[in-house]
Symmetry: D2
Subunit: 398 residues, 4 copies
């Protein structure tokens, strides 16, 4: 009897030819799992393609709510960005997919999991380490890492094997999409000096007039966005709405050179209108309710959190500890942020919270402020003591 294999199936060329290849090279019964994280693909069509190509079973799993709750929001609370820019959309999706695959494998009694990653990216690490962290007994197969074909050879293989593929509109770019963002690589982007063509952008295509602008207000509760312009909204709706509004003004593009885990640099373009808006809004609200010591120390935690996510180390003890830190820090991150959305630009113009520790009576330069000036001089005296002592000992640090 064949062993069971769970395939992370996207509907694209790679994983479609992989169904055939896996059956040719292993004595396996393939179950294709399609996971809906908000990507705009036609999953029904992909579902049929999986079965047509030889999968014994196929499943479409709507994981959007779990994705937001357990992956997007923790990342938002951690202000997560890899190398100060990348909002980690693909990186946070991988551990969730790994988890769903392992759950499937355990339920279906499958001994293998396959995914479509190549040998040069970060995603192979995230899948492999994620799966092994959750169930080290499952064998992992990555056809594209073993079987090195060019795109043309893949297409040829598909035609020869009567595999129904969907490559009419041939793109030279490699794309990944989910609710939190869209990433674009390859093509002329592989030269870090060359300017991205306007055609690569999809989520941030400008449809607004240059004179257009609008104010929006985002409400947060314990670090999570819950309302838009005063209206409570489900999380997927809120993110989709923000992607649509901000995207129409051309907001949310990132162009960067980043360091992959496997020791090489790559040039990446990201589009993430909602994520950019929410990350800036969240930080601005934190600036109002977190005290300085927590805020500054949290920067370290944020950098480490982001690095861990990028490096595929989601299901690890350190990640759990970082999560606890971040979660605790959000207790009072409740309030509202107002932004002005303009042509290719946005800025936070106001922030308020019932937990605000901005204190007007202390901060104002008005005559009736409550700050007692006599404290300052003494504070500074002690603050500078060590350096005054150094200077007295002849140790000036110019």
């Amino acid at each position: 009897m064949s062993e069971k294999l769970i395939l992370a199936y996207s509907g694209g060329l790679d994983t479609t030819v992989a169904i055939k290849w896996l059956k040719e090279n292993y004595d396996v019964d393939v179950t294709a799992v399609l996971i809906d994280l908000g990507q705009p693909d036609n999953l029904q069509d992909a579902y049929m393609r999986a079965l047509d190509t030889g999968a014994s079973k196929a499943f479409i799993i709507d994981a959007k709510d779990q994705f937001i709750k357990d992956y997007i929001f923790p990342s938002l609370k951690a202000n997560a960005r890899y190398e100060k820019k990348y909002i980690l959309a693909t990186a946070i999706a991988r551990p969730l997919i790994a988890k769903i695959l392992v759950d499937f494998a355990e339920k279906e009694n499958a001994s293998m999991i396959a995914h479509g990653c190549t040998a040069k990216g970060n995603d192979q690490v995230r899948f492999d380490v994620g799966i092994r962290s959750l169930n080290p007994d499952i064998k992992i197969i990555a056809p594209m890492r073993i079987w090195k074909l060019s795109r043309e050879e893949e297409i040829e293989y598909a035609l020869k094997n009567n595999i129904r593929i969907n490559v009419t509109k041939k793109s030279i770019y490699s794309i990944d999409e989910n609710l939190w963002g869209r990433s674009i690589e390859c093509g002329n982007l592989e030269d870090p000096w060359s300017e991205p063509l306007e055609e690569i952008y999809k989520w941030s295509k400008i449809t607004k007039n240059e004179k257009d602008e609008e104010d929006i207000e985002i409400g947060f509760e314990k670090g999570e966005p819950v309302s838009l312009n005063g209206e409570m909204m489900s999380s997927p709706d809120l993110i989709l709405k923000l992607n649509s509004i901000a995207g129409s003004y051309g907001i949310g593009r990132t162009d960067m050179v980043e360091n992959r885990l496997i020791g090489i640099k790559s040039r990446e373009i990201y589009e993430a209108p909602a994520a950019e808006i929410l990350l800036e809004s969240h930080r601005q609200l934190e600036s109002l309710v977190l005290d300085r010591e927590l805020l500054h120390y949290k920067y370290l935690i944020e950098d480490k959190f982001s690095e861990m996510v990028y490096y595929g180390l989601w299901f690890t003890p350190l990640m759990k500890c970082l999560m606890k830190f971040v979660e605790e820090s959000q207790e009072y991150v409740t309030g509202a942020v107002r932004l002005k959305i303009q042509y290719k630009n946005f800025s936070v113009t106001g922030r308020k919270s019932e937990y605000s520790i901005y204190d007007y009576s202390l901060a104002t330069y008005d005559k009736n402020d409550l700050f007692d000036p006599k404290f300052s001089e003494s504070f500074i005296k002690i603050w500078g003591y060590p350096y005054e002592i150094l200077a007295k000992k002849g140790r000036k640090n110019e």
Copy 2:
């Protein structure tokens, strides 16, 4: 005989009435020092006002070159921003002013230094600690910290004492300016929910049409900008030019709530077109030439550097050590960055360097790449070993 006092003189109301007040309250001979850091004030006029008001001597010091070389560029190399945003323009100016004042005091045999800071800001800390770190024997007097007058009372005092002041255009905002940026506080900004009025902006007033855009190219050598659009340029010229170009597109505004050193939050607006452009360009060039371990660790150094500057700890041993780290990191930060400047927006669209460690032959997904895929699987095996072992021991970290 009177003791000599060196006054950090700006030409404004506070330090002008301070000349009179100092002479009334201490038996001192006042030398007014005006330091040119690129602020747009009429220093000749201020010079005359100092003498007219009772200063025995006055000096105008052009410190722009030193400011750029020893304060702006080190901050740029450190990608310095306080609380992720503020580019520290005022904060880096204070230690230089302190140093010039101490040098003057030593040369002129003065036993006192006076400055115009109030009891609630950060600048008093930067001046006091700076001066004490350089010469702990000098007595520091801050009239505004001792003598709490409202603006109206100051004007009244000036009129009563025939002090020639320059307050025709009365602003409700408190402004500070130098080459690196302009800061704005007070007025309606003291409510963090209220939107800044367009009238407060000066450097980033938009004069361009919404359809305008231009590409610029900035050349760097060891982390310092040296050319604009291929033309070698002196540092002050380059910064002024960038302020003018980027400012005309409305670029360089920051609206934030920040944590002052003395334990309170305040709302600040900054305008810094050149600084924003240069900081982003510098980081993008670093992404091409620094290896990942240095880049990620440097983030910590950058946060600490920024905090130290904001906290007034420039002339300290830790600062010197951080400087050495940063300086060494810039050895290969040489190359060029191309940016597209648009209406209220800019982005880096290309970066190149003879020291680039982006390696096309490794990064490309082309068929003829040089990356050997067999390494990846083994690398991941070891990378994930600890978490596989944990899982084997029943310690899953979901």
Copy 3:
């Protein structure tokens, strides 16, 4: 009617004369609170002295269990040491005392709290900030900070006012003690070059013969010590027993120069036999059950935790976040550590845990090990890729 004041009363000279002084200088009704944290003082005698000297009421509070559970154990889990050495015994006691005082003040409707700290130590900060963090409406009075008397003048004042004091054995040292440790300052210790006299030690006085030695085994559950030599034991008993055993071998002394919060250095001697044994045992157990990434990152958390405690910032948001991190990290710190206790020396000679991730079959150099050597070469290939690329570009880092 007099206002009520809660006094942190130790029974010593300072707080005894303070009762009288407070009543002379404020219209207050003094309630003396004696808090038992395991210090060896005669609290019954102190209780009577408080009432005799003019306190309206006095209370003895046994806070040992709470001290261990909420202050000592969290510190142990965080491997807390200030400046790599000081085990923070006094520093962790202060917030607990502040909390008890505030609870008393709220219960008794008192508007003031007084403590016996001087103006130069760290404890004034810990008390003041602790109290204000818990109830900012309470007025804090520190008689010794206001009323600067020498010890001789204090004694004279006591005699003149018929205050019954207990200063027969006059010590030139300033001592503080509780379950977790004993600290000694002043006397000849104020010269950091001078050797401490043997007479200052009390907990680590050697009563063992040089040939004596014994093995002990400490059992931990989730980071907390629960058994000694296989016997389950209450926490106070376990700590007292360890202080007694290890102390008799002369173990647990620290001699250091440390940086106080208020900007000056001081020389301190500490005795903490149990704390030293438990901290080393805890770390050794962690080395067996924590994975590398958590272990290394926890070092940062430990340093920050220790600094926060020393700086009097216990009841703060950052501290709560650090606690959550530390608590989560201890989930599997369960097992046993065996130590050899010898003359002036101890060392951990074994550690074991059901959650150990030490894997003999991978670690051994035996022939039948399970580690596949082919992984290493590829791992190293990728690990060293960035530096190989640097070298290829002519950027060697010798």
Copy 4:
């Protein structure tokens, strides 16, 4: 014509049979390089053995001075310890050996370097990455990683091939030694619960009586030890002398479980009498001359430095930056430390420096101290402001 190969030759069994094996498996001409880092081996004997076994040439290089100057002293200045304990003796030797090998290869026009590391240790990483960082064109061969033989099979191979080996005293332990320390693994140590046998210790064998004790004084200049008991001494002599003195009291043993780079834990024993004495002395001197901010921040740098060394990343840009930081920090680490050396124990009993910033007149509790108590209360007021504001807003952090 054969290609030239440089072999890192130790004289032991592994590298001796490797000479034969290399010549059998590759068409190479072997040059054996023996590097003297203070290990007690008979290098003359090893030299002859290399030639007898088939090496074309052999060299003995005395690298002790360079080892101390460029590797030991920087580590001492960085207070380097891996996982808080291991003094990194072997880890810092590897990059130096790599460098000497590469220099030889370049001088001799050799295209290959071979070393005797196995596939499971850290040293293979340090050699491979070190060599590739210095010259990526050299091919690296690690016979023991390719050719997996047990010790018995190696001996058999040696006998069969008439290879003169030196294995009369067969040890079950794996040992590495140089001036800075001795490491011991394998045997019963592979069970982390089992107690090390006394027989494994060589450098710390006790020859002193339990009553013996002596005071020693170590002089430092800019972080480097230069004198012992007042006598200026060459660095190798000083280290050897300290190893001998402290070792005779049984000082310098470490028993730990550590995390290897390749993802597994191992149990290690180290002996390093001089290193332990010098590291503690250095830290104590730093406590006297470094200000708090530098001292605390340097802890981060120290942990990273140690991790980098252990991970084989010596010749990297980040390491150079860390070095610059550390070097700058040592400018004033000049002075003397006095220690009491006792049976199995030592402690620093005094430290002094012309650059000391311990200030008796500020630190003392004497009546005539110069510390103005009025500063404290105001300092604390501002220090605790944020937490008082939190409490006023109802945000208590108990």
